[in-house]
Amino acid sequence: MELIEKAQIMDKEAMRRALIRVAHEIVEKNKGLEDVVLVGIHRRGYPLAQRLAQILKESENVDVPVGELDITLYRDDLTLRSTQPQVGPTRMPVDVANKRVILVDDVLYTGRTIRAALDAIIDMGRPTNIQVAVMVDRGHRELPIRADYVGKNVPTSSKEVIHVKVAEIDGHDEVVIAEKKDE
C-alpha cells in the first residue's frame, strides 16, 4: 500500500501561529497556568508540548512542566500496528494528582490513542481534570472523545492520512495530507 502526498495543509508559519493561539486558549480556559501540566503523547506530541511550554514561558513567564507519555502498553490494537510494537519512554516530571493535565498530540482521528492516554494518566494518579490539545482534528471518531484545543480542523476521508511533520523528528515543520493508493 502506497501513500501519495496530495497537498500541504499547514506550513511552518501556520503551525507556529496555531500553537501560539492554542497556548493562549489554554491560559484563558484554565484562568492562568496554576497546576497545569502538559503531557506529550509519544512521539510527535512531545515536541509539540515542549513548544507550547516555551510559548507559555515567553508570554506568561511560567514554567509549565512537560511530560512524555508512550501509550503502546495501553493500546487496544497492538497487532494491527506492527508485528513487534516498540515501547517508547514515559517520563512524568511531576505527580499528576490534583493537576490539570493537558494531553498534546499531533492528530486526533478515531480517539483510541486519547482513550489509551486517559487510562495511562489515571493509572498514575487522580488529576483534577484532563484536557486535550491537538494540531489537527481529522474527524472519524470511533469513541466519544473530543479535543479542547485544535490547531486546525481538516475533514478527511478514511482513504486519506494526515502527517504532521515536526523539525525535532522530521527535520522540518509542515502538515500534509496523503492518500492511500492500493497496488
Partner: protein
Amino acid sequence: MTLRGQDLLSLQEMSTADMETILSTARSLKEILSRPIKKVPTLRGKVVCTLFYEPSTRTRTSFELAAKYMSADTVSIAASTSAAQKGETLSDTARNLEVMGVDVAIMRHSVSGSCHFLAKVLDIPVINAGDGMHEHPTQGLLDIFTILEHKPRIRGLKVAILGDILHSRVARSLIFGLTKMGAEVAVAGPGTLLPPYIEDLGVRACRRVEEAIEGADVVYSLRIQLERQNKGLFPSKREYRDFYGLNRQRLSLAQEDAIIMHPGPMNRGVEITTDVADSPRAIILDQVTSGVAVRMAVLYLILGGRE
C-alpha cells in the same frame, strides 16, 4: 524476525538485534516499577506459568512480578510440591499445563538442555529460567542491562567473571551475551572449576583472580556452590575466600570506577566480602530491579498483541 511467540532458550542462539530490542523495551518499561499503581493492562488475560524444579528466590519472584505488573495472571509450580514427586514426567507435567490454557512456560530445571526439550514438546513459548549448567539467558540480559545503566557501552568493556565457571549457567550466558556485544571477557577461578577449552568461547582464562580483575571495568562474582566442596573441587570455604575471594584489596586492581556484580544469593565472606558487596560501586540490588524490567520486556515481546 520478531520475538512474538518465540522461545527464549539461550543467548548463544539469540541475535544481537533481538538482544537490543529486549534491552530497549526494558528501558521503557522500567518506570512502571516506580508508579503508585504498578500495573499496565497490556497482558491482561494472558497466563504465565512458572515451572521450577530447582529452588529460586529472585528469578521466580521476578518473573511472577513482571507478569503481574503487566496484568497477566500467574500460576507457579514448584516441583517439590507437585505430582513430579509421584514420578510424573516433565513432558506430561508441561503438556497438562498447556491444555489448561497457559500461554507461556517459564522453566528452571537441573538438567542442561531440558528447556530445549520442553520447547519441542510444547506449542506455547518456553522461556529458560536456568537449565542445569547450560544457560540462564534472562540473567545474562539483565546483567547487560544493568551494566549499561552505569557504563556507556559494552563494546571494549573489560569484564572479569570470577568463581565456579565450570558449573555456572550464569557465566555461560554472560560469556555469550557479552562477547556478542564486543566486550573483553576474562574468567578466573580455581583450576578445578575452570572448564577446559573455555577460551574457545572467546574469553581469556586465568588461574588467579588477580589476573582477571586487573584493569577490569566490571567485576562479576559468581556464587561458590558449597556442595561442590564435598566433591573435593575446592578444599574449604576459608581457602576459597583467602585465594579467590573478592575483597577490597583484590578489587583495587580493577579500574577506579569499576562496578561490582553478583547474581545472588551471596555467600557473604566466601566469594565476596561484606564491605565489597555493600560498597557504593556494587550494583547488586540494581541487578535485581533490572531483572523485573527485563523480564517484563521479555513477556511483552513474546506475548504482547493479539492473534
